[in-house]
Point group: C2
């Protein structure tokens, strides 16, 4: 799982983040101690503090990186080639596949928002707003160019993101279909929902 | 919140369930103690044990009742008047509005499945399967009668339930729109998704 954060240095910090994702997922954030995280990463609690000042700081690093990844994925898809429908198809397929493949991280990122310290919470809320507005702008463009016919852009963009995010709740490695197939299926459902021809 | 469980007797048990929903929502299930629940309900820990043998038993009571409510709501809507589209409209509107109005309970019910003791977990999984199959049968009926055109009934029924369930994650009392308006909006989106005329 440490390959999730290629930009995080040194490797010990990455290992701590991966151990925290597993521990938070198993016991919940509140019931996990910094000792649990350090032990799972094969380190002493003191060694954890070299990299993160607190348990909340580990959560913040995981959450900010997850939200940055989602925003850059959505932005790249929305500014790709083709009409609004073609770009929405790529956007949903990738967003859904990512939430399936990285469901453990995505659960932490989604369900522990309220445990973030205020400055990190504010930063994450800003990233979420930006992600929302990219999706909304793409649907608006589709409606304006006659590619989509949905009457309520706001509700539709909320539903598109919600469908992708909720995949992290129910997806398990044993689940059928695989992340890519699921992404393609959901992309088809979303295009129908938006009234694409 | 005690009006959520009109069938639970005596009133003290209802009060404990309501206190548990608030405590689990705030701290997470694992970090909540039976003492936290009893205190929030204005009772002693010993008094809690009169009604529930354990913290897990309180969670089970909340979860089973929530899943039973969802199944009976979905079953009633699916067997109501009108064609498959009319019934699906009612089903989604009610399912979505319920997840918005009761988002605190719904979060516990959805996110703490793995904390249930085995027999309760099995019972809840059976209730979820039945709910899934009611929705799937309604979509199948709609496809057979030419009311829906969705090519993948399995993916579509998963998406319909997922959209409703995820409302509990993001809905807050301050959120616009109100539960009934949201239900109506989502019903329209789902009918489009299923390819209803």
């Amino acid at each position: 799982m440490t390959d999730l954060w290629p930009d995080v240095r040194p490797e010990a910090a990455r290992r701590l983040m991966a151990a925290a994702v597993a521990a938070f997922g198993e016991r919940g954030y509140h019931a996990t101690t910094t000792r649990d995280i350090a032990t799972a990463a094969g380190m002493s609690p003191a060694a954890l503090y070299v990299h993160f000042p607190s348990k909340a700081a580990v959560l913040s690093a995981i959450s900010r990186s997850g939200h940055e990844r989602a925003l850059s994925m959505v932005t790249a898809a929305a500014s790709g080639p083709g009409d609004a429908a073609a770009r929405m198809r790529v956007l949903v397929a990738e967003f859904v596949a990512w939430h399936a493949r990285r469901h453990q991280v995505a659960r932490i990122v989604q369900y522990e928002l309220n445990a973030l310290p205020q400055p990190d919470y504010d930063a994450v809320v800003a990233l979420r707003r930006e992600t929302d507005s990219v999706v909304r702008a793409l649907i608006e463009e589709g409606v304006e160019t006659g590619v989509f016919t949905t009457p309520d852009v706001r509700a539709a963009s909320r539903a598109v993101l919600s469908l992708g995010i909720d995949v992290a709740r129910w997806y398990t490695p044993a689940a059928k279909p695989d992340p890519e197939t699921l992404g393609a299926e959901y992309a088809g459902l979303v295009l129908a929902m938006l009234g694409a021809a």
